[in-house]
């Protein structure tokens, strides 16, 4: 069946894996291992995706039009030609922005309810 044009809202909330992959691709195209490394660095090792999670998510994101494969190679001499590079699409960028806004609104709500009061003071003390 033909691909359906979906609005960014319809993807929310994103799964943690999809959110982190979109975030890793926010500053340029990367191959799978680079995405995995970036996610680990961003989260200080708290999020460690296995190859199955990474490529399962990539498959669904490609199908949904959130990311696309890139034919460009940053430096072909330094890289295995068979690696696939991925980059955000316009839709992927919008979805990431809307998800971030949604999370920011939740964060603001939690702050108003003083949910973070204890956590904040503890992190200041430590």
């Amino acid at each position: 069946m033909a691909e359906v044009a979906r609005v960014p809202d319809s993807f929310l909330p994103l799964t943690p894996a999809v959110f982190h992959i979109l975030l890793a691709l926010a500053d340029g195209e990367k191959h799978g291992y680079a995405v995995m490394q970036e996610v680990e660095e961003m989260t200080e090792g708290k999020v460690q995706m296995g190859p199955g999670t990474l490529y399962g998510s990539i498959k669904r994101m490609l199908a949904a039009g959130l990311i696309e494969e890139s034919d460009d190679r940053p430096d072909p001499t330094l890289d295995d030609e068979r690696r696939r590079y991925y980059r955000q699409t316009g839709l992927g960028h919008k979805v990431l922005r809307e998800e971030t806004e949604r999370m920011a609104e939740l964060m603001a709500l939690a702050r108003r309810k003083h949910v973070l009061a204890g956590i904040g003071s503890r992190s200041i003390l430590t």
Partner: protein, 275 residues
């Protein structure tokens, strides 16, 4: 300790084992991503072995095993759901075509009844039974076909098209209930249920038909739902006569056969996938 290709033996062995375990994924997924998954695993293996030695590798295998089990199940379930969805849309396309043919056959048999205008005539019982069976079976297939139409095309029909298809399915169900009631009672309610259901089904189909024309929900023949619906509404507009009845039945059936044909032909060409 180095393997034959200069790679540390634990890394080499781990990668070989991982490639062997990739066989657990569905074939299409493995063919598309297996090589890249093995490549990523090899990179992570090297890194963890260099930084953590054998304990690092053990930790990596613990994580990878969980990832492998979870995502293997996910991929198989997703593949199964996708296949079931495709199959349902395809078979409901055939159901819609069969329903249209039975509906037309029921109408033709009913019109062949020599006593159809005689309120006390009894000689045409077999015609009547034939007509009712044709209409009832046709209506059952309409319900299945319209459910499949909704399952396969609601998302690209927008909220209006999706709602119209729900109305159409409910109408078809109500009309079927009316036909079944006719078999056990001569209550006026049965006729009302059949008629109201048929009108609701047709109106829903007409609205979906307009949406189909505007949004091109089928790859071709987007006029078909509207052709089926509008012609069935002709008799309700006050027009009467044998020719109206014949044109109505023929156009309604042809319209639905075309819709059903598109459904079974387009099912599975490209799935609707959510991230």
């Amino acid at each position: 300790m180095r393997g034959s290709n200069g790679v540390p033996a634990p890394v080499d062995l781990s990668v070989r084992l991982y490639i062997w375990l990739l066989a657990a994924y569905p074939g299409r997924f493995r063919a598309e991503y297996g090589h890249h998954m093995a490549q990523v695993f090899r990179d992570v293996c090297r890194r963890d072995y260099e930084h953590g030695g054998l304990p690092g590798m053990t930790s990596l295998w613990a994580r990878t095993s969980l990832d492998l089990i979870r995502t293997t199940v996910e991929e198989h379930i997703e593949r199964g759901l996708h296949m079931n969805h495709e199959k349902f849309v395809r078979w409901s396309g055939w159901a819609l075509m069969g329903g249209a043919i039975l509906f037309a056959a029921g109408q033709v048999i009913g019109n062949l009844d020599p006593n159809r205008n005689d309120p006390i005539g009894g000689g045409g019982a077999s015609y009547e039974i034939g007509a009712i069976v044709g209409l009832a079976l046709g209506q059952v297939l309409f319900v299945i076909g319209l459910l499949g139409l909704r399952a396969g095309y609601a998302e690209r029909s927008g909220s209006l098209g999706g709602m119209a298809l729900i109305v159409s399915v409910i109408g078809a169900g109500l009309s079927l209930a009316g036909i079944l009631m006719m078999g056990v009672t001569e209550s006026e309610l049965a006729w009302q249920a059949w008629a109201i259901g048929l009108v609701a089904m047709t109106l829903g189909l007409a609205i979906f038909g307009v949406v189909a024309l505007r949004r091109k929900v089928f790859s071709r023949w987007n006029f078909a739902p509207l052709l089926a619906a509008v012609t069935l509404l002709l008799p309700l507009s006050g027009l009467a006569g044998e020719w109206v009845s014949a044109v109505t039945v023929a156009a309604f059936s042809i319209g639905l056969v075309l819709v059903g044909f598109r459904m079974q032909a387009e099912a599975g060409i490209s799935g609707e996938v959510a991230a």
